[in-house]
Symmetry: C3
Subunit: 185 residues, 3 copies
């Protein structure tokens, strides 16, 4: 009798193990390509809102503690240094800080498109386009005025995707333009 | 004997309960962040096709029955009122309705980028950028001519995401521009 | 005793079957709307990087072997023919090939927005907007210069989404403009 029960328990245990393994992909569904891509797209968009509305707390929080912002002209490493660089460039990134003549405060907006993502566990590599428009002129006329592309490295820290490195190429300055080779795959 | 069987059944039942709970996230995978975001991105894009091609039936169907369209200048509540407001503004939203001189009918196109989404069950909050270009000029020259941002509330009704409220800020009119504070998180 | 064990084994087996079925949706999570949409968005973005950086190997690899590129002016069928057509239009698509005067090589960039996707198993139908900007002028001034929309058919081949047909409408040429009716749903 005990023998039978023992065998039965073993069979049940084995079946549970098999089932648990077969269910595993479901359990990790939260880190599927779509789930990670969805989180990263949200990160990318929040980064740009923070930049354009000059919300530096949120902006630096999209980077890892030792994240790198590389705009070719310089590299800033870590949230404090990144914040310092942004503060220094306030007149560039925060149109409202300008003493621009006109009927109301001017604005500038960075946009992201064409997001390509390769994701491997807690690490991701990204390529995408950015472009900018604004109305920093006396008539508040909308003007398309800049573009380039991003080359990103991202990591998942405590379940949250962050930039560990963002390189920004800019087709408006000779020294900052992209190499001719397709940066994608 | 019966006692052993009883204990065994209890153990099996307990294990099943535990396993069922551990499998549950898989079962609800259809309403994961990625699944909801994918559906909402599709909604956002279909809304703009409907607007630009002036397909009012599809346009109003992207709102809930009592959905609100708020363009600061006015609020329209419910599909009928929203449709009425769009009809009144036909000359603005339907370039083909214009008697514009030129070699072929002009077009105008609204685009969405930088979609930020917070999703909580059947409710979602969105922030995103919009911009517009068109060729409503005699040469049919492409012109970038407007931008702003959306602040959205969405609900899932019978498995389908719809706008319960869309607020449209526009940087081209003094009264409709965005407050200076980052509307995102 | 054997009878009890037999009944118990039957109950356990039945429960496992029920549980396996309830877990099944999780297992096929890899081809959910979000997963397919994520893969297709990546395809769409890689296509544009390949086009703008004139990486023809990658460009033609985004089509199926017998895929069709239809720009209204002509239809190219199959990767070889598509490549040939692109080579012929090099001066249009590869700004760096131009002998454009200026301080550094000019660039041109196609962007995609407003992606609407209907997915049915291994087949997908897409609608989306495209627009173009570049700096092919002596001052390397960023200029917004073209737009239209895509109508796509895609298939999943060996787990990878590819274009089986891409039709490109262009609002810059009378013969290539979109019909007035909303191409979406």
């Amino acid at each position: 009798m005990r023998k039978f029960t023992g065998i039965l328990v073993s069979i049940v245990a084995a079946l549970f193990l098999a089932l648990a393994i077969s269910c595993a992909p479901a359990d990790t569904g939260k880190s599927s390509y779509a789930e990670d891509r969805a989180q990263i797209e949200d990160l990318q968009a929040r980064y740009l809102f923070a930049l354009d509305f000059f919300d530096l707390d949120t902006y630096v929080s999209t980077f890892t503690e030792d994240g790198v912002l590389d705009i070719i002209a310089y590299q800033a490493k870590g949230r404090d240094e990144i914040r310092k660089k942004l503060e220094e460039a306030r007149s560039v990134f925060d149109p409202a800080s300008e003493n621009a003549k006109g009927p109301y405060p001017p604005t500038g907006r960075h946009n992201i498109t064409n997001i390509v993502l390769k994701i491997d566990g807690d690490r991701a590599t990204g390529r995408s386009y950015w472009f900018h428009y604004g109305n920093s002129n006396p008539e508040r006329k909308p003007v398309f005025d800049g573009y380039g592309h991003y080359e990103d490295e991202m990591v998942k820290v405590n379940g949250q995707w962050l930039f560990s490195k963002r390189v920004i190429y800019n087709e408006g300055v000779a020294e900052w333009i992209a190499p001719a080779k397709n940066p994608c795959w």
